[in-house]
């Protein structure tokens, strides 16, 4: 494993790595030329299928399988959406990729579109990535000028247009169907599946949605062959042949309380401890890790005893987490209170919930209010059970929401309560010595009378002064009676 040579981030250290000249000098777009000249779309799909490439965006769905769902008899047009709306807290690998090596992503998109016979692709980029946007736009211009985009790419009869579509600060746009609605100019509500995007997606047409890192992997699979790809990572265990295995390199984003935060391209299946100790330079200030968010905040946490978990598609699941997620690893040291982690996570998901499904719209803020009460010293032991109950019942895993956003909140709450229950109970006893045992819902999470929960001010710390209370405000609003 020590001799692992990064491919996705190989150009990162080069000077002006985002320009076409540098990319081409490193052998860039050669794969595209070769494939267009010698391989059929089926060959590309077969190679990707044989490589066992799974989506890097979070769900880990086999890429070739997704492509194969495109209907054969549809008159088209088909669309490709490259998902670069990377808003998961703790994840920034797509940003680094697009800033340092946009051409690699473009080549991946072109190859994937060739494999799926798609003529138009959109890159959904989150608005916060200004530098990435500029470099991507420049790269697209260069690619058009060099004949890698547009009609008759590199002399073949394959044509493709790529457009960048920028978001505007909404986490839910990273969900594939929310992303589609956002491009369509509608409120980015995720859609209920079925129908799946591969049969009815963007503008009602069959659409493939892949993460940009997944698409970048396609370049290297075709360049170095599927055998090379399968030689990296963890194969499926022999006793479970249904398992798909985790092959290939993955860019991990390491942040939090480590000495060297940053992006690290490593084989899938690397133990979490290795990533932190060997590559990240260990926990900062000489402290020990208490918990590690394993793959972006929505996947839940590993406790310090589970640091040997291999970071592949199954390891975190065995450790009680949602999955590998985006590979955004956040290390938290021994001084960081777990209740803060829950508070931060729940606030994020309550803020980013699109508000479509009831269990997510109401349930996540509900959990957040309970966590906030615990953090504010108004917790009760029974609240932990309520939190567990909520977290077990919301999300796409039990099936109560359309998309997986609520799962993020659920897993943060669930893993924290399960793995750090003692600490949380201690905290509640310590901060609420008079009320921690109370079971009846009396005044523990009291709202001032008349203030609608979560309407404008969630939980004002102080009661509004007499006379300007929300009650009198609301009576003005109802003046039309």
């Amino acid at each position: 494993m020590t001799d692992f040579e990064p491919v996705l981030l190989a150009n990162k250290t080069k000077d002006r790595s985002w320009t076409l000249t540098v990319y081409e000098s490193g052998g860039g777009y050669q794969t595209l030329r070769q494939v267009l000249r010698h391989k059929s779309p089926q060959d590309v799909t077969k190679a990707v299928e044989a490589s066992g490439l799974r989506g890097r965006g979070g769900a880990g769905y086999p890429t070739a399988l997704k492509w194969s769902f495109l209907p054969m008899d549809h008159p088209g047009p088909f669309y490709m959406c490259a998902n670069a709306d990377e808003s998961e807290p703790g994840t920034f690998c797509n940003r680094v990729q697009l800033e340092c090596d946009p051409h690699q992503v473009l080549e991946g998109i072109i190859l994937s579109c060739y494999a799926t016979r798609i003529r138009r692709a959109y890159i959904f980029l989150r608005y916060e990535y200004h530098l990435a946007y500029q470099r991507l736009e420049d790269a697209i211009k260069e690619a058009y000028a060099a004949g890698y985009l547009g009609s008759n790419i590199a002399g073949s009869d394959f044509s493709l247009d790529i457009f960048v579509h920028r978001g505007a600060g909404a986490y839910i746009c990273g969900e594939e169907t929310g992303l589609l609605a956002s491009i369509e100019g509608k409120r980015p509500y995720p859609r209920s599946k079925p129908p799946f995007p591969t049969s009815r997606g963007l503008f009602g047409k069959p659409t493939v949605i892949n993460n940009v890192e997944t698409l970048a992997c396609v370049v290297h699979i075709l360049q170095r062959g599927e055998e090379w790809f399968r030689s990296i990572g963890t194969p499926p265990p022999p006793e479970d042949p249904k398992e798909l295995g985790s092959f290939g390199p993955k860019i991990f984003s390491l942040s939090g309380h480590v000495n060297r935060p940053g992006v690290y391209e490593l084989p899938l299946g690397i133990p979490c401890r290795d990533l932190i100790e060997r590559h990240g330079g260990g926990v900062w200030k000489g402290r020990r890790a208490k918990a590690v968010v394993v793959g972006g905040i929505s996947t839940g946490i590993l406790s310090c005893h589970e640091l040997d978990t291999p970071l592949d598609f199954v390891g975190p699941v065995r450790a009680g987490c949602l999955g590998l997620g985006t590979g955004g690893v956040i290390v938290l040291d021994e001084t960081f209170p777990i209740v803060e982690l829950m508070y931060n996570g729940c606030r994020f998901f309550a803020h980013e919930s699109c508000g479509q499904c009831t269990p997510c719209r109401e349930g996540v803020p509900y959990a957040f209010q309970i966590v906030e009460a615990i953090r504010g010293g108004r917790g009760r032991l029974v609240d932990l059970d309520t939190l567990l109950e909520i977290s077990q019942n919301i999300g796409i895993t039990p099936g109560t929401t359309i998309c997986g956003l609520a799962d993020g909140a659920a897993w943060i709450v669930k893993t924290c309560v399960n793995k750090f229950r003692e600490e949380l109970e201690d905290y509640i006893r310590r901060t609420n010595p008079t009320g921690y045992k109370r079971r009846l819902p009396l005044g523990t999470i009291m709202l001032p009378p008349g203030v609608p929960a979560g309407i404008k001010t969630r939980f004002p710390k102080t009661l509004p002064p007499q006379g300007t209370s929300a009650l009198s405000r609301s009576s003005q609003e109802t003046g039309g009676n």
């Binding site: 916060e128 200004h130 505007a168 100019g185 409120r187």
Partner: protein, 175 residues
């Protein structure tokens, strides 16, 4: 679509802006899809999305103003009430930044600027915003001013940044 008038004013969407929006039309099969790029253009021009601009934009794209406002209100980037300040300061408060002092940074800036997150200072110079993950966790705690990232920040650096911005000439907004 708009029932009472075909003569929607053109005071906000002038010809230049319309041309810029029109340049997005070929990218999509129908006009409504150009809504988000159009909103970015409007926001860039005015610093917020004026109500009249929504009406004009809706007329231009052939949809109802409510459908535009529906989208505008969803995204946290768009302001609807008044223009943002010259510098829009986003302070990341997500876990990676929060665990390295992002919350404290936000509090500090709130005090220094005298505004709550989401508000603009009286002199129209700064708008403070609490961001949910700027995707810059490697330089946590991160701060983004307009389109430029700063990090890792410390309270001292943040104060220094404010001073620099106050002294600096008008920024070039490039995107």
């Amino acid at each position: 679509m708009i029932s009472e008038n075909s003569a929607v004013g053109r005071q906000f969407l002038d010809d230049e802006l319309r041309r810029a929006i029109e340049s997005y039309f070929p990218r999509y099969p129908h006009r409504q899809a150009a809504l988000l790029p159009a909103l970015h253009l409007v926001h860039q021009r005015f610093g917020f999305i004026p109500r009249e601009a929504i009406v004009e934009l809706a007329d231009f794209l052939g949809i109802h103003p409510a459908e535009v406002a529906d989208v505008v209100s969803f995204y946290s980037f768009f302001k609807q009430d008044r223009p943002v300040g010259k510098y829009r300061i986003w302070v990341c408060r997500s876990l990676s930044c929060a665990c390295r002092g992002g919350e404290g940074l936000l509090e500090l800036l709130t005090q220094k600027l005298g505004v709550a997150p989401g508000q603009t200072t009286v002199d129209g110079l700064f708008t403070l915003e609490a961001a949910e993950c700027l995707g810059a966790c490697d330089c946590a705690p991160a701060v983004m001013v307009n389109d430029k990232l700063y990090g890792p920040m410390t309270p001292e650096k943040a104060e220094q940044l404010l001073e620099e911005l106050r002294a600096a000439p008008a920024p070039e907004v490039t995107s």
